[in-house]
């Protein structure tokens, strides 16, 4: 029990819309230890909403229910909003997709990192600054003191995302949810950022939920993969056994990946069958 960091059982997220209720997440279950779990799916599969529901960041009009949603034995659905907030950014953190939009444009990078720290820990300004600089160093920014005083628009996308990682890791969380952390980045820096993230997660023994549409990336990065389709989990599988995936949807996703030296005609198209969503 104690080594289970996160337990999710029958998680549902429902949005009221003009035409009735829409379930974005429809009974998702999985559990997570101090390991790296990938959640893969197309856009609209509910993977991002799953991540946000764990964080407690679903929009106010949405309704979240689950048989069990527990972090380190704490029932997330019954704790007070205050307690929930004290977990966020402290023990559970999240990295968003695009640093261009997810960093506050009118606050320097340093202040944003210090802000996370001082929200959760009583530390002096000087100490907070020291730790923020150390964190910037840890995400392999060479001139932390300079970057500390820069505004988000003054750095590149790759550096912005490293600043974002620093901002979220500075409190030493146990669980990290990374929602498409490299999709908005230039291909050449994607791998750098991923390596940094991977290294930090491994060093600190954190749990990681890596949300992506990119099955190849996820399979090379994670220990386990959850494949989602239309708000449901269609398959859970070890990354190493992905080649033997049973579900036709997973196989479809795999087949979409280009391989060198193979004739690709006709181009494979993803099969989508309504009964998988049923």
């Amino acid at each position: 029990m104690s080594d289970m960091l996160l337990e999710v059982d029958d998680l549902r997220v429902t949005f009221p819309t003009r035409t009735g209720l829409v379930q974005a997440v429809r009974g998702v279950s999985f559990s997570l230890g101090r390991e790296r779990l990938g959640i893969v799916g197309e856009s609209g599969s509910g993977k991002s909403q799953t991540g946000r529901a764990i964080m407690g960041l679903t929009p106010p009009q949405a309704e979240v229910s689950a048989k069990k949603l527990a972090f380190d034995g704490i029932d997330l659905l019954s704790v007070s909003p205050r307690q929930r907030r004290s977990l966020r950014g402290n023990r559970i953190a999240m990295i968003l997709q695009d640093p261009k939009y997810s960093l506050d444009p009118v606050m320097t990078i340093g202040r944003q990192i210090v802000e996370t720290l001082r929200t959760h820990e009583k530390v002096s300004k000087a100490e907070a600054r020291e730790r923020a600089l150390a964190m910037l160093q840890a995400v392999q920014i060479r001139d932390p003191a300079r970057v500390f005083d820069l505004y988000p628009h003054e750095v590149s996308g790759g550096m912005g995302q490293r600043a974002m990682i620093a901002m979220m890791l500075v409190t030493g969380p146990e669980l990290m949810i990374a929602d498409e952390p490299t999709s908005a980045l230039d291909v050449t820096v994607q791998l750098d950022v991923l390596k940094i993230l991977d290294k930090l997660v491994a060093e600190r023994g954190m749990g990681l939920i890596f949300i992506s549409h990119d099955l190849r990336l996820v399979s090379s990065f994670c220990d386990r993969v959850v494949v989602m389709y239309a708000g449901k989990v269609v398959e859970q599988i070890k990354a190493s056994e992905l080649r033997d995936a049973q579900h036709p949807y997973t196989r479809g996703l795999l087949n979409c990946m280009p391989r060198i030296g193979f004739e690709r005609h006709p181009l494979p198209v993803l099969d989508r069958k309504p009964e998988w969503a049923a």
């Binding site: 907030r85 968003l96 009118v106």
Partner: protein, 356 residues
């Protein structure tokens, strides 16, 4: 790791920045100069081109012929228009708008005398509008669709729709005649008019500096209703714009990130969303201030407030064109200046535009 990626994007671009800064200053000056020339061209057009005989427009039709002829030469009306305009601009830049028929003073000295009253009124009005309007707009955006949002919306809509001079008259009936909470329409009671010596021309400030609290109290009783009315107009505008900016900011990804950091809603709203919204808000508050200078024309008439607005309307009623146009240029200049300054301020406040 690629080296390029590890360099801050703006490194080694100092000279580019200087060039961009210089060019934006240059652009700014071009805009300032052309706008001001435009204002003078329009008032020139109004004063010299539209009237059949500008001399009569200035002097009235009862002036003796000799005076009319002399004035005609003085005004340079025998010269070609372009030359007239050149002379007009030159004298306007020197602050020479001619003499007021009504007060027999140079228009410029009249304007200097009455302008502080208007500034005092408009400043107080904008303060009221911003102090109430910004929090109201923020609350309306945060609690979108709630009762407070509805109230803010209705308060705003009425503010956009009400004739201010009418509201002022009704206010006088209620607060002056019926409740006697405020003083009669003027700037000070007659008793103080002669005993009080202004320093800056802002009576609230002057009386406070000199410790004359009875004067301060009297000045307050005179200014409170007109200022509250102008404040209401400004509140309607400011709260509506604040709401719209805040809704825009609250939908941004950095708000999600701030929540993910575990910040409190208070901190997210006032520390992040409003800080971002503050950048365009500065423009809005400045524009609202400029609008109040203009709105003062009607308000001052209702409250017999001896500012530039009352000066213009009194001159209008007496066909004193020099004074009317001088007053128009004065308000127009301040209006343009505020517009331009708010633009500059916007650039200074937003780190993203610092590079030009």
């Amino acid at each position: 790791m690629s080296v390029a990626d590890n360099q801050p994007a703006t490194a080694g671009r100092g000279s580019d920045r200087a060039v961009a800064f210089a060019s934006s200053i240059g652009r700014f000056l071009v805009i300032a100069v052309t706008t001001y020339l435009g204002l003078l061209a329009v008032t020139f057009f109004i004063g010299r081109v539209i009237p059949i005989d500008p001399v009569l427009a200035v002097l009235g039709d009862r002036a003796p012929t000799a005076v009319v002829e002399r004035t005609r030469r003085e005004m340079g009306l025998d010269l070609p228009w372009i030359e007239q305009f050149y002379i007009y601009v030159k004298s306007a830049l020197r602050g020479d708008f001619g003499t007021s028929v009504l007060t027999t003073n140079p228009v410029m000295s009249d304007i200097r005398r009455v302008f502080p009253a208007t500034i005092e009124l408009a400043t107080l009005g904008t303060l009221i509008g911003a102090i109430i309007g910004v929090p109201l707009g923020v609350l309306a955006a945060v609690k979108r669709g709630s009762l407070i949002d509805q109230i803010a919306r209705i308060v705003g809509l009425i503010g956009y729709s009400v004739p201010i001079f009418w509201l002022g008259l009704l206010g006088l009936v209620l607060f002056y005649a019926k409740l006697q909470w405020i003083a009669f329409p003027a700037r000070l009671d007659v008793v103080y008019e002669y005993t009080f010596t202004p320093i800056t021309g802002f009576y609230l400030l002057d009386s406070a500096i000199q410790g004359q609290w009875d004067v301060f109290h009297d000045a307050w009783r005179h200014i409170v209703l007109p200022a509250a009315l102008l404040g209401y107009l400004s509140l309607a505008y400011i709260s509506r714009m604040t709401r719209s900016f805040m809704l825009n900011e609250l939908a941004q990804e950095y708000i999600v990130a701030a929540r993910a950091k575990g910040l409190s809603e208070t901190r997210i709203i006032w520390g992040h969303a409003l800080r971002n919204a503050a950048v365009p808000m500065v423009t809005v508050i400045a524009l609202s201030y400029a609008n109040l200078l203009e709105g003062s024309v009607l308000t001052e008439t209702v409250f017999s407030w001896p500012g530039i607005g009352l000066y213009i309307t009194n001159s209008l009623q007496n066909a004193d064109m020099n004074a009317v146009l001088g007053g128009t240029i004065a308000i127009g200049s301040v209006f343009i200046a505020i517009n331009l300054l708010s633009d500059l301020l916007y650039r200074l406040l937003d780190p993203r535009t610092k590079a030009g």
